[in-house]
């Protein structure tokens, strides 16, 4: 957690602008159209700030199409390390004629606008600082190729913005070189564009008018920038995944695509052969079916999808639960229901995962909040799936999965894999026989053998229909009940093995937040706001897995009201919690919900909490 800055009495934003330049605390929004190649420019801009040692985050708000529609990329730089979304934009780069007017109208007073000169945006407002730039014209100086010119205009704005924000040109150049690594021609061209931009700005504008400045600090040293899907892919690779099956869907596709890239680099053996298989399936039913087949046969298997895929996988998930087959399923959630808003973020698949499939079923769900946890929980999921012989979900979201996040480098996992209770031919020689679904150890987890095990007692028959402890077909009521009760016990055992919550008890706090996943970043900033602005201490419970651990009740016991913060309409995690807690604790549960598809921000959380606390505290 970042250091908390000293308490201030009025809303920070207005204050800042009146008291001279704001150092390392601002947000930039680049408004453009997708497919216009601005992605690399934005990355270079973000990286430049990062390299100056300033904490930074980048969020891409993009449409569900391929090219030509409005897209907004927001960079937040914050000296205190707050990297949640911030609603207010300080510095707008208006490149999209279609939205430019609305983009400008939405700004608070005294903000900065860099824009394509011909859009004449200064006609709309008098209370903003306008910086018109003839991007198209400047680009013609570099190349006659019109397609290339469009791309280079993007790098020109990086030059302009860098100059105005006083970003060290050396850092921008480094970032640029990294971005186009190995492509000398692209580096050279883009460097020219960058220089044209900064030169133009230097010659044309008075940069002291811009109240936001970058100053070198030391808060990012040794850190990496990565998106959650890549982090999860690395977690899978280092967990020794051997079979990955998937079907393309936003926002999950990049998980398996990145995995494939890394695996080709690090998991090809000396003889040129792959020690893994990655298969693009024909749909999600096939993807999860393959993962389950592979898990049954002993591979560390996985698949990755989003809401619609989870819906399609329901039947197979029930088979995995009931026949007890390990596999790992990533759900990178987006806005539902149905196709919903496929390129917007939400945490609304919780119920679909926790009780996935018809009949009595309950599942393990890991919920990462950071890219570090995407890595670590992806890794852990394989151990848990094999330990508990069941499908294990990792529930990330679009915001975490597809955006770039700053993080400490991932730690190499040194433990031995937990491959679970698998009996080898040697074990069987010793034991003579085994009963596939018997609860030998009293933890609800049975033993299994893998197909191919060379021992006459190894084989057993797996089915999604009724079976007894010997895996023989059975419709006997007592066999059925015993088995279902053991499955329940297994789930109970899992409570002690899933990642425990992170809890922060604020001294004297009567109220607490409960959050999970990406809501975390808004919550911790809100904690700071509440402390500084309202002198209000709030505890914080960060849930990291379903089923819940014993800590949950304790947290509720120690507070009068617990605000569950989540990004969905129905308060789905709150629902799970209500079901779990005794009623006298459940009554303390309150709900803060943000579900517009835009990442939740701290001010929303703070305001919602204050309103609720004011509204009546029973």
């Amino acid at each position: 957690m970042p250091n908390q800055s000293p308490q201030v009495l009025v809303a920070e934003e207005e204050q800042r602008l009146n008291g001279g330049p704001v150092i390392n605390d601002f947000s930039i929004q680049v408004a453009t159209v997708n497919g216009s190649g601005s992605q690399s420019s934005n990355t270079v801009l973000m990286r430049s700030i990062f390299q100056m040692g300033i904490p930074v985050s980048g969020k891409n708000l993009f449409p569900s199409n391929i090219a030509g529609l409005p897209t907004w990329f927001t960079i937040r730089a914050n000296r205190d390390g707050w990297i949640a979304r911030r609603k207010e934009i300080d510095f707008l780069v208006a490149m999209n004629p279609e939205t430019a007017r609305e983009d400008v109208m939405n700004l608070d007073p005294n903000r900065v606008v860099v824009y394509e000169e011909t859009l004449k945006l200064d006609q709309y407002r008098r209370d903003l600082a306008f910086f018109p730039v003839p991007f198209a014209k400047l680009a013609t100086e570099i190349t006659p190729d019109s397609r290339l010119r469009k791309l280079l205009a993007n790098m020109i704005y990086v030059g302009v913005v860098s100059e105005l924000l006083e970003i060290d040109p050396a850092e921008t150049e480094t970032a640029l070189t990294k971005q186009f690594k190995g492509k000398a021609k692209a580096v050279a061209l883009n460097k020219t564009a960058l220089d044209i931009g900064s030169k133009f700005a230097k010659q044309t504008f008075d940069r002291t008018v811009v109240p936001y400045k970058c100053q070198r600090m030391n808060a990012t040293k040794g850190k990496i920038i990565i998106d959650g899907n890549s982090a999860a892919a690395l977690g899978c690779m280092f967990a020794g995944v051997t079979v990955a099956t998937w079907y393309p869907i936003t926002p999950s596709s990049s998980l398996c695509e990145t995995l494939a890239d890394y695996m080709k680099e690090y998991r090809i053996e000396k003889d040129g052969k792959a020690n893994f298989a990655i298969v693009q399936a024909e749909d999600e039913l096939a993807a999860v079916g393959m993962a389950i087949g592979a898990g049954w046969a002993g591979a560390r298997s996985m698949t990755s999808t989003a809401g619609p895929g989870i819906s399609l996988m329901q039947e197979f998930i029930g088979l995995g639960y009931y026949a007890e087959i390990p596999t790992v399923i990533f759900d990178i959630t987006r806005v539902g229901p149905s196709t919903g808003l496929p390129t917007r973020t939400q945490q609304s698949d919780i119920l679909s995962l926790a009780y996935a499939s018809h009949g009595d079923t309950k599942h393990i769900v890991l919920v990462p909040a950071s890219v570090e946890e995407c890595f670590q929980m992806a890794y852990d999921a394989f151990d848990l799936a094999e330990r508990f012989q069941t499908p294990v979900f990792v529930m990330s979201d679009l915001d975490l999965g597809m955006n770039n996040w700053m993080a400490d480098p991932f730690k190499y996992p040194k433990e031995k894999f937990d491959r679970g209770k698998v009996l080898s031919a040697d074990d069987l020689k010793r034991l003579g026989s085994f009963r596939r679904y018997a609860d030998v150890d009293g933890d609800g987890i049975p033993y299994r053998t893998l197909p191919g095990t060379n021992h006459p007692a190894a084989s057993y028959f797996t089915r999604g229909s009724g079976h007894n402890e010997n895996a023989a077909y059975s419709e006997r009521p007592d066999d059925y009940k015993r088995n279902m009760e053991r499955l329940n016990k297994k789930y109970e055992t899992a409570r002690q093995h899933v990642p425990p919550p992170e809890i922060q008890y604020a001294t004297g706090a009567k109220i607490g937040f409960l959050g999970f996943g990406t809501s975390h970043w808004a919550i911790i900033e809100s904690l700071d706001q509440l402390q500084r602005e309202y002198d209000t201490s709030v505890s914080y419970y960060r849930l990291r897995a379903v089923p819940f651990t014993k800590h949950l009740a304790e947290f509720f016991e120690r507070h009068d009201r617990v605000y569950v913060v989540e990004q969905n309409r129905d308060g789905q995690m709150g629902m799970l919690i209500k079901l779990e807690l005794p009623a006298e604790l459940a009554r303390k549960l309150r709900s803060i919900r943000h579900y517009s598809g835009i990442p939740i921000d701290a001010r929303f959380v703070t305001d919602a909490l204050l309103a609720a606390e004011k509204g009546g505290q029973n």
């Binding site: 020794g240 051997t242 998991r267 893994f276 389950i292 049954w296 991932f410 053998t449 797996t462």
Partner: protein, 351 residues
Amino acid sequence: MSLTTQQPPAAAPKNVNRLGLTMADYKGAESTLCAGCGHDAITSQIIKAFYEYGVEPHRVAKLSGIGCSSKTPAYFLSKSHGFNGVHGRMPAIATGVMLANKSLISIGVSGDGDTASIGMGQFVHLLRRNVPMIYIIENNGVYGLTKGQFSATADLGSKAKSGVMNDLPAIDVCTMAIELGCNFVARSFAGDPKQMVALLKAALGHRGTAVFDVISPCVTFNNHEGSTKSYKYAKDHEELLHEISFVPFFEQITVDYSDGETSDVELHDGSHIRLRKTDKGYDPTNKGEALDTLRKCQELNEFLTGLIYINEMKPDFLTLLNMTDEPLATLPQERVQPKEDDLREIMAELM
């Protein structure tokens, strides 16, 4: 199916196969199907073929969907692992199993409902990938387990027990398989054990998806007059492509096969299929001929049996994936977890 390279025992005792196993070693639990069900006949021939071929039971994975047919893997090879999954999705499971452990020999048993109705999508994509496995369709034109509704292989004009006529055309799984590039397509009849065993053994010698469509009458719901999938109808309308016999890789080829009356196809594992031509003369390695012949028979309401199409040159899916030789499932941690330096290198890239 790349099989064991074990040599045949010098002088094999009677009633055991080259592995020294008896037929009983290839049996399964007692069947709970209706007495006389075609599926039970197929089960018997699977037992026989695997016994005679000398397949190591522990290397076999038995897979199925849901249906009377899909129950049968419980009734053979009890020393093999079995997986009775969900309705129509056996192909995905089979693909996963083979990815995890390429040394396994997968035999899948499905029904016409399981494959051609709910399972059509997965069936098509299994064939497209050419996942190595034997895929048997126990084809009775109805949903046995749910009590006799027409399936998608029910023939146009076939009558249900209730008298209702099927007015949609049948899907021909063999034509479909050949069109989709499947390189081993055979059809047989539950009433013809000899042909079935020969074809099953040939399927064992093949590498790739071996589709084996077996007309398997449902005595309870589809064996009446007016049905086109009854024992009687099948017998009356069978159009035999060739007499077929099988010479496993571990047996000397003794008979001279330049004889004009027979032709020989060498399988992936070195075994041979010997085809004694009927009057037609038929080349199962010719895709066009195979498709034409199927189409013509269809038009005549005949059903063709034998090895309809074979092509031993096409690579299977696992070969395309260029996977390491050992089963992925059991690779040790050292091999599948990159080193600490690798992670460091990756992290450095991201700084």
